[in-house]
Amino acid sequence: MKKQVCIIDDDPIYRMIASKIINIIAPPLTIHQCKNGEEGLAKLEDLKNSNHETVAFLDINMPGLNGWDVLDGISQNDFHTLSKLQIYMVSSSTDERDLLKSKQYSFVKGFLYKPLSKEDLISAIGSE
């Protein structure tokens, strides 16, 4: 099964860094960049029916729909039942409450702290 990556984050530099590292470790994956929660949710909806496995990196602190709002949207739309969707929460804050909250969502695969290292990304998407 082909894999694709979805980066949902309001910080363009972070998106660029993550995309570049992914291109180095696992080319040629398709990478979708979404600059806010609304775009991210729409993109996931879009990818719902594709046959590709999707790994999503979701930032917590975003203006508008934040990471938690996106997770709630995913639950409401039943995307989380898709075995092809793997969601990783990403945050620059080291507040433990965020980590604990993410564990309340059974479909969240993991929690990653910024900056994402090469190793973080390899363990999340695997190297090709």
Binding site: I13, S92, K114, P115, S117
Partner: protein, 145 residues
């Protein structure tokens, strides 16, 4: 004239008669002659002379001190909240700076890449600098309140 609220009065009398010099909870309400209520700490000492014996009781007004403590507690709460926001906000540019350094280390020989990331390093460092200045400013404001 009533000097202390009824429920406290009995407690104070008990302490006097038991001759304990230190109250475990030494903070009582005290009514002034004009009816105003203040908070006091009470100390006493038994005095004996050849002909007489008696007790010296000293009540210190601690209303002001308690008010200061309350102010300090409010300020502490504000400082805690500043610390919380800053640890969240400050870490955003900082983690970006660390990510940029990762990029430079990944491709140290690509001159254009390195120059691009150096420029980004400056942008994020300035952002971090602004945030630290903002924190200092907010902290100073609290002191003046």
């Amino acid at each position: 004239m009533q000097l202390h609220p009824k429920e406290e009065e009995q407690l104070i009398v008990n302490k006097f008669t038991s001759k304990e010099e230190h109250f475990s909870a030494n903070q009582f309400s005290h009514f002034l002659s004009d009816g105003k209520e203040i908070k006091v700490e009470i100390y006493f000492k038994e005095i004996k002379s050849n002909s007489n014996s008696g007790v010296i009781v000293q009540s210190n007004d601690i209303s002001e001190v308690l008010k200061y403590i309350q102010t300090i507690e409010i300020q502490n709460e504000k400082l805690r909240s500043i610390a919380w926001t800053q640890s969240h906000e400050v870490r955003a540019p900082l983690s970006r700076i660390l990510g940029i350094i990762n990029m430079i280390e990944l491709q140290p020989d690509d001159r254009d890449e390195v120059l691009f990331w150096l420029k980004q390093l400056r942008v994020s460092s300035n952002e971090l600098d602004d945030m630290i200045k903002k924190t200092v400013h907010e902290t100073l404001q609290i002191k003046q309140q």
